[in-house]
């Protein structure tokens, strides 16, 4: 692996950047691996990387039906935060946030993690109370949080309508200063390059079509490039978790839904933090290219299509404009959708299953991008050691049957509501 540095950049500039080596190989699948990971998004690639780096397991393949990073990893609005109230969640996401802070150095790949802060807006007095409580819980759990009053929110987001006549009155906001955004594709590329360098085979255009089980133990996977034997198999297929787990005969507490996002035409810098509102339900930031990146609700019906419908787009745009009236002058440039693995309590599943050697990572709902390094870290541990890491014991598949759901919003077993 060529180390990326100012020197390699200068050296390659001399040959007009024609001689960079490939960032990863494109090997043919071997007949057998110790571990097969299904899905080359950030979670799958990261898991392969940490299997090698933390556990010394390098006879690993990551199988991807399309191209790596082409799923939700390359489709999300890139918000990275750890502003949760509940115990299990906050510890896990704070661990993930710490890994984000060192990711570019660790991977020798600039993932452009920008700690521009994320502000969660409070629109009512009860929300002010709830957010202060959540902020205190975050601090007690070792994370960072600052409650901003209305004037402080206004100072950080001058174009946000904080006036008395605002459609959605701004009472304050919970800021997490260390939160921010990252370059989504770079996360997939960085993990792919580092995993490949450690000996992991990343096999693209290779769809898993079946999972073979003998005597309660996984033995191999069927793919569009033939059967491949495996000691252990882990899924990291986000919105496809339901039907891939069904190949192993499992029914999961997950539904697949479509979530859309969109960007405006690029404009000069005008928003240097991330603004989110749970009550209005929209989130907005500005990309390094100048586009305003926006998202909001699901389309609210089961879907495996990577595209959605106009009512949701209109709803997001209307929400954003009511908060940032000036943005009403911009044109929408692009919209797209991703298939979301909505779990029954809004929290992820990173877990062993009743099948020996078969592991599930899914149920990421709206928020799996920020979880990428943390999820990959604990999933690699779960697979390598065949038992959960302390940070994902709470995300066990059995929690639903045992009554230990982690329902951050208290919205009950309705996947679309999380």
């Amino acid at each position: 692996m060529t180390k990326y540095s100012i020197f390699s950049l200068a050296r390659n500039a001399l040959t007009e950047h024609r001689n960079w080596t490939e960032a990863w190989r494109s090997p043919d699948p071997k007949p057998a691996y110790d571990v097969i990971i299904i899905g080359a998004g950030g979670h799958g690639l990261g898991t392969a990387y940490y299997l090698a780096r933390n556990h010394g397991i390098t006879n690993v393949a990551v199988l991807e039906k399309g191209y790596l990073g082409g799923g939700n990893t390359g489709r999300n609005t890139t918000i990275v935060r750890a502003n949760y109230l509940l115990e299990g969640n906050e510890h896990f996401y704070e661990h993930s946030l710490k890994l984000w802070e060192g990711m570019s150095q660790d991977l020798n790949f600039n993932v452009m993690f920008s700690q521009r802060g994320v502000i969660n807006l409070a629109h009512s007095d009860p929300q002010v109370d709830a957010f202060q409580r959540r902020g205190n819980a975050m601090i007690l759990n070792g994370s960072d949080a600052v409650f901003l009053n209305r004037a402080e929110v206004q100072a950080r987001a001058p174009l946000l309508d904080c006036s008395d006549g605002a459609r959605y009155p701004i009472k304050g906001g919970l800021l997490q200063p260390r939160a921010g955004t990252a370059r989504h594709d770079a996360v997939a590329w960085g993990y792919a390059r580092a995993a490949d360098a450690a000996g992991v085979d990343i096999i693209q255009n290779c769809e898993v079509t079946g999972i073979d089980i003998e005597g309660g133990r996984v033995t191999s996977v069927q793919t569009t490039r033939g059967a491949i034997k495996a000691g252990k198999v882990g899924t990291a297929v986000a919105g496809h978790t339901g039907h891939v787990a069904a190949m192993a005969g499992l029914r999961l507490p997950i539904e697949s839904h479509v979530l859309q996002a969109m960007v405006s035409e690029p404009v000069k810098p005008c928003l240097d933090t991330v603004i989110t509102s749970g009550a209005v339900h929209c989130y907005i930031s500005q990309s390094d290219k100048g586009e305003l990146v926006m998202g909001g609700d699901l389309d609210f019906y089961n879907s495996y299509a990577q595209r959605g419908n106009f009512p949701s787009i209109e709803d997001v745009v209307a929400s954003v404009i009511s908060m940032f009236p000036a943005f009403g002058r911009l044109r929408l440039m692009r919209t797209w959708g991703g298939v979301m693995d909505m779990s029954m309590d809004g929290s992820p599943i990173i877990s062993k299953t009743p099948i020996d050697g078969f592991y599930v990572n899914g149920g990421w709902c709206y928020g799996g991008f920020k979880a990428t390094p943390g999820s990959a870290w604990v999933y690699a541990h779960t697979i390598a050691e065949d038992r959960p890491h302390a940070l994902n014991e709470c995300f066990h598949l059995s929690r639903f049957a045992r009554g230990y759901t982690i329902d951050e919003h208290g919205s009950g077993p309705t996947p679309g509501a999380h």
Partner: protein, 92 residues
Amino acid sequence: MLEIKCPWCGARTQTEFTYAGDATLDRPDAETGSEEDWYEYVYLRDNPRGAHDELWQHSAGCRRYVKVRRDVTTHEIIATGAPGAKLDGGGS
């Protein structure tokens, strides 16, 4: 925009409806249902990639529930009917 044919009101746009999820679930009997039955009913879903039977409430119309068979990979609506109806088509 989805166009859903309500058996009582005719074809209407999706914005008149509220999605109510999987229509294939059987509610366990309150007296005899086991914990396992309830767990499956409340939490587990087939979540198929293909034809999906689901309920939509015509909330801005007659307010009745409509059963819809929809291909969740294309969003094509294959058939609609009353909640108890058996729908045909779409290979499921």
